[in-house]
């Protein structure tokens, strides 16, 4: 019996190639979207769960209040791990970690390696990174040991056995104690090398609560003890002895939170070694995939019910021959099942084809094999079956309910019910499409706004050269050498690049009312900072060579003064006008005068308003040279820079990036969302139009006779085109009217997250609405014009 159903279904599909094609393609796109996003979501949800101890590991984050400001960071001081292990019995083990870049060398091979993990010895006991060679217990038990991944072993040693060989890092020799399998994509710790934590240098030898630069993980004896331990930690940190030990006074506090490892990636607001995912995005992505699938399902439902008129004879006859309602229902569900299974197969092909683009959008690195595993395939099949029921249920119900007598009466067709469902579905499809289009335009506008916003400095044509090794001791000579390269206009250096300043600090200012503490961001910079970045001074001057004279280190810093630049916001916060600020004293360790006030510039994401910023002259902290080059012939200038670099710096490869690229990276998440939404909006409108195209084809055929009669009566082509199109276009207009307020609300909600944002202008709605309407009109008019141009004699004769 089933075979018979499938046979009929197959032949029916073949007979109605246009509709079948639309249905299969539409459902395939919907299913492909679900598959791709499903694989992505399951990847995100699987984060860190490969660790056998995943549910016993917690990340310790720090929250503290100082000078009236509460800060929360994922990093902690060196003392947290060891002290917690000593104090709290539930803590079995601790691992302090840090990932940084360093130069690694073996014979002729020398690379700047960005992913070197420094970790305490129990690292391989706490986390489940599999060692292919070597013993996890002893892999990190001596300061000259280093563990490398399989890829790195291949990179440096080719096919030789790397175990026991020597690598040079930062001029020091290390023995390879183990070979680790490459780190899985779904790990929050991603590294190529692991070496003992204490190799970070003298500043980590002492245990301190502060200088929080390290991420601490704890392995608990029992995963149920987290909340109990949290309570113990809270009490402990409030005790007088600990507060005194940590130097916490008055209303200030210091506390630690335990985050279960498996919740860090999706639920934590504090980024660790890599930006976190977000559970909100997971929901948004799922919703988008579902919306696209719903649009495709609506196409199926609509086309199937529209076609049903042509099949009443068949159904009636089947019933006369003894088919029960149930049997007819099963027959039509089988048809939709066949279509969705085809669509499912096509979805796999589409997904594989689109994998590179998808990786690009989401910033993941899925390979084709990610889709060919049993789990995604099984999920896809189950999903296809569910979809087939969802899409085929109503048509099957409608058709199986056909009155037998229908077959015996001529001219019977489904005109009853006013096609309310069909209209509703079309409206829903176009509402979804219009919302996605409008929302996408808003996001793109905001992205464009952020890219082109006047940040208060000029981020274009700034080359960033990271400083390392012996470069700092050679600072002035290098600076001079870079300055003299043709094409370089000006050179400066700083601890952080200006697009994202994280250095948090505190100052005090004394006025007639007494001493005020202010917490702010700070950046140590070299001379020419203002000039190179083209910032605007409102009052005073930039740092100059003679300022170094103030910084008198002789006599044990007795006469040391630090010159400062402040931003407008800081001046305002203290209560100075820019002009008043010049010459005032600020105390931050050393006291010194304000020499200049600069116009506010955005030194953080545009999500946040500009806060107070202190810029102080100190080139010893410099981590990056920043070079302003002229825009003519950038490659030439870069290759000249490389030549100069190679002459002077032998222990580091030439490595550069552009400041505007760094800036754009700040908005990677938004960039990804906007790319994904653009694609989704495009798919939605294409699928909705595809459905409309099929329906228009269908109704035009249905109305051939009517159109023929009208033409004979003298109607011209234009009025007939309008006649056929207007019903559809009315639905699209209603859909747009529904979409506009919803999109306005969603768009504004999204924009709320930005301190600097665009205003949604009315023309966005107008443009999106007009575009949707135009596309819909073109879709429909293809058929209606064809019908209007047809010879009426022909259409009347065929009746």
């Amino acid at each position: 019996m089933i075979r018979n159903y499938f046979k009929t279904a197959w032949r029916n599909l073949w007979k109605n190639k246009l509709y079948s094609g639309i249905n299969i393609f539409g459902l395939a796109v919907g299913l492909a979207a679900c598959l791709l996003i499903g694989v992505y979501i399951s990847h995100e949800l699987s984060y860190d769960k490969f660790n056998r101890n995943a549910y016993r590991i917690v990340r310790v984050t720090m929250e503290y209040e100082k000078a009236g400001t509460v800060n929360a960071v994922a990093t902690t001081g060196t003392k947290v791990g060891p002290q917690f292990k000593r104090t709290f019995p539930p803590v079995e083990e601790y691992v302090r970690t840090y990932i940084r870049q360093n130069i690694i060398k073996h014979d002729e091979k020398i690379f700047d390696e960005p992913r070197i993990l420094y970790a305490d010895a129990p690292f391989f006991k706490v986390f489940s990174f599999h060692l292919a060679e070597g013993d996890p217990a002893t892999a990190l038990d001596a300061s000259d040991k280093i563990v490398i991944t399989r890829s790195m072993a291949k990179k440096y040693f080719g096919n030789e056995d790397a175990l026991g060989k020597t690598l040079t890092m930062g001029g020091k020799d290390f023995r390879i104690s183990a070979i680790c399998e490459d780190v899985p994509q779904n790990s929050q710790l991603k590294f190529d090398f692991v070496t003992p934590f204490l190799n970070l240098g003298n500043n980590v030898k002492d245990e301190t609560w502060w200088t929080a630069n390290w991420i601490t993980y704890l392995l608990l004896r029992d995963h149920n003890s987290i909340s109990q331990l949290q309570q113990q930690v809270n009490d402990y940190m409030k005790s007088t002895a600990v507060r005194k030990d940590a130097g916490v006074e008055g209303n200030n506090y210091l506390s630690y939170h335990l985050e279960p490892l498996t919740r860090v990636h999706l639920y934590s607001s504090l980024p660790g070694f890599e930006p976190n995912g977000s559970i909100r995005n997971i929901y948004i992505f799922s919703l988008i995939a579902l919306l696209i699938l719903i649009i495709a399902c609506a196409n199926y439902t609509n086309l199937a019910t529209a076609q049903s008129a042509g099949r009443t004879a068949e159904i009636g006859m089947r019933k006369v021959m003894g088919a029960s309602k149930k049997q007819v229902f099963i027959q039509f569900i089988s048809e939709s099942l066949i279509i969705t299974l085809f669509a499912g197969a096509l979805a796999i092909i589409i997904s594989i084809t689109l994998t590179p683009y998808f990786n690009n959008i989401t910033g993941t690195q899925f390979s084709v094999s990610a889709f060919l595993k049993p789990l995604p395939i099984a999920a896809l099949i189950i999903f296809s079956i569910l979809t087939s029921f969802f899409a085929g249920f109503y048509p099957a119900l409608l058709l199986s309910g056909t009155e037998v007598i229908g077959v015996l009466k001529k001219g019977f067709s489904f005109t009853g019910g006013k096609n309310l469902l069909r209209k509703t579905l079309i409206i829903a499809q176009f509402s979804i499409s219009a919302i996605l289009i409008i929302f996408t335009i808003i996001i793109l506008q905001q992205m464009n706004f952020m890219k082109t916003k006047d940040l208060g400095y000029n981020k274009d044509h700034i080359v960033v050269l990271p400083i390392g090794g012996k470069m700092l001791s050679d600072f002035q000579a290098l600076k001079d050498a870079f300055s003299q390269v043709r094409g370089v206009e000006s050179v400066t250096a700083s601890y952080e690049t200006p697009e994202y300043v994280q250095w948090g600090d505190g100052i005090s200012v004394t006025d007639e009312k007494g001493k005020h503490d202010i917490s702010l961001n700070a950046m140590p910079v070299d001379l020419d900072f203002i000039k190179t970045l083209q910032m605007k001074l409102i009052a005073g001057r930039d740092f100059q060579q003679s300022d170094f004279a103030m910084m008198d280190t002789s006599n044990d810093y007795q006469n040391y003064h630090q010159p400062y630049l402040i931003n407008e916001t800081l001046a305002k916060k203290i209560g100075w006008t820019p002009e008043q600020a010049i010459g005032q004293a600020i105390e931050k360790g050393a006291t010194g005068p304000v020499v200049g006030v600069i116009k506010d510039f955005n030194f953080s994401s545009l999500h946040d308003p500009v806060g107070p910023l202190l810029i102080f002259l100190n080139r010893d902290y410099s981590r990056d040279f920043m070079l302003r080059i002229n825009g003519n012939d950038v490659p030439q200038t870069l290759s000249r820079l490389e030549m100069v670099w190679k002459q002077r710096i032998t222990d580091r490869p030439f490595h550069y990036h552009f400041l505007d690229e760094d800036y754009n990276k700040l908005y990677q998440a938004e960039q990804r969302s906007s790319s994904l939404l653009s694609v989704a909006a495009m798919l939605a409108i294409i699928l909705a139009c595809l459905g409309l195209f099929g329906l228009a084809a269908f109704t035009t055929v249905q109305r051939t006779k009517e159109i023929g009669i009208r033409k004979v009566l003298g109607a011209h082509a234009g009025s007939i085109t309008l006649l056929v199109s207007k019903n559809f276009l009315a639905l699209v207009v209603i859909a747009i009217a529904i979409a506009i307020p919803l999109a306005w609300v969603i768009g504004n909600k999204w924009l709320q997250d930005f301190a600097y944002r665009i205003n949604i202008s009315w023309w966005v709605f107008l443009a999106a609405g007009a575009a949707a309407l135009l596309i819909a009109f073109l879709t429909v008019s293809f058929h209606s014009i064809k019908a209007a141009m047809a010879n009426p004699v022909k259409s009347l004769r065929t009746e």
């Binding site: 018979n4 046979k7 009929t8 007979k15 009636g316 021959m321 029960s324 049997q327």
Partner: protein, 221 residues
Amino acid sequence: MLELKGIYKWVNTGNHRTFLLKDVDLTVKEGEFISIMGPSGSGKSTLLNVIGMLDEFNEGEYNFLNESVHKLKEKQRSALYKQYIGFVFQAYHLIDELTVYENIETPLIYQNIKSSDRKAMVADILDRFQIVGKKDLFPTQLSGGQQQLVGIARALIANPKLLLADEPTGNLNSKQGEEIMNLFKQLNHEGMTIIQVTHSEKNAAYGSHIINLLDGMIQNN
């Protein structure tokens, strides 16, 4: 075999009631071959559909093989006609997507008959109607006469006791029509009860009994 007593069927249009069938009494015995005649709109097809249980009636009694059809629920009715009645239509109503073989097989599928038995039964009837060579063709590849032959084969496949034919030769030329009527006559000889609706006096003469219908009423018997 079946008995209609005081059957009324009407439709309401506005305040007006139009009668499709009016006080129809009819008894059909097993082995009869009845022809229903009458002008267009006289209610011939409606009567046939009522007999075939495809259409309902508003008033009256209908007994079929000792069952009171007017008291049955839809499910029971359809089980009844599924088992005992075969239908033949003017427009053949073959399913375009199925081959000759599959069209004939379909009623058996709905009666949950085993695949091997179905094969034997279909082969048998193909043979009897001499259309074995056409079994893999689709309806559109056949002439009207051949299509109607398939339609009759399909109506007979499940061994019904009653064959209902609604102008079975209406779309055929006279030669094809004659062949079909001869087939009916032969079937009747073999014991099949047949009720046909027809316009043609000539075709009506094949039957043992003619009923004339006018405005939903039987004129003579």
